[in-house]
């Protein structure tokens, strides 16, 4: 059963990922991204990370990708990008080599490593009937416990994001607009 879920989910993710890379139209690319996100969300669930699965769907699919689509529409850059031609001749073969090499190296690392983590099996308490929010509590404990400082820092990060967009997207004075 696990296997089936994994295979299907990873298929979703991979197909989506490939889609992002190969779909000519940005909008389609964004849609493929959504597919991947869902696939990963499924795997999260399979791994007992229900909260993250939810956040994944909400934040990513719900917010980020939508944001992408907004921008695409706003700028009207939804016309297809011509992927048939590649000005940098070396780029694609090189990219292929790099991609394959990385897969190889990372897989190699994962498979050759005799680190304890590779052997240890299932672990975290997944939600049960008596405590449906176990996973949530654990995350909460971690975030507000060990990682409380990191949590604080995220506030600064968001502040940066806000101010940054203000600086970047603010309309320029009139005479500038003329240009």
């Amino acid at each position: 059963m696990e296997l089936v879920v994994f295979v299907l989910a990873s298929l979703m993710a991979l197909v989506g990922a490939v889609g992002v890379v190969v779909r000519r139209n940005p909008v389609h690319a964004a849609m493929s991204l959504v597919l991947t996100l869902f696939g990963i969300a499924v795997i999260f669930v399979q791994q007992g990370a229900h909260f993250l699965a939810a956040v994944q769907v909400i934040v990513y699919a719900g917010a980020i990708v939508v944001l992408f689509l907004f921008v695409i529409m706003l700028l009207g850059v939804d016309q297809a990008e011509d992927l048939s031609i590649e000005p940098l001749t070396v780029q694609r073969p090189l990219a292929a080599v790099i991609g394959v090499a990385m897969v190889g190296l990372l897989t190699g690392a994962i498979l050759t490593s005799d680190n304890a983590v590779m052997k240890s099996g299932a672990g975290l308490s997944s939600p049960t009937l008596d405590s449906p929010d176990a996973n949530l509590k654990e995350i909460a404990g971690s975030i507000f416990g060990d990682h409380v400082f990191a949590f604080e820092v995220t506030s600064i990060l968001l502040l940066v994001a806000v101010v940054g967009t203000v600086i970047l997207a603010r309309r320029l004075p009139k005479e500038e607009e003329a240009k």
Partner: protein, 107 residues
């Protein structure tokens, strides 16, 4: 059916999957010319990392992996906002700018 019953996806399966996703993301950054799409590919890479984190967390029976993913999500969000901001501001000047057009600075 028996196969399905027997074979359990182990940690390494997930890890390899995330590695593959990561690599695809990398390739995407290299081959796509539309900044937006390049950016999506970066998101893809981040997700691949998330997958690894969760997997490790599970394998280690340690929740910190998941909480880290949470932070990554925040970072991703922030990045998107700023990134799109920059892209917007530059595309305001000249629409449909592909990444290759941005090469005034070189040499």
């Amino acid at each position: 059916m028996s196969l399905l019953a027997v074979v359990e996806p182990t940690t390494s399966w997930f890890l390899v999957l995330s590695a593959v996703l990561f690599a695809i993301g990398t390739v995407g950054v290299l081959v796509r010319r539309n900044p937006l799409v390049m950016f999506m590919c970066i998101e893809l890479m981040l997700n691949a990392v998330n997958l690894s984190l969760v997997t490790f967390g599970r394998a280690r029976a340690d929740v910190n992996g998941q909480s880290t993913v949470f932070f990554v999500l925040v970072v991703a969000a922030a990045e998107v906002v700023v990134g799109l901001g920059i892209i917007v501001s530059i595309m305001r000047r000249r629409t449909a700018a592909s990444a290759d057009d941005l090469s005034v600075l070189k040499g």
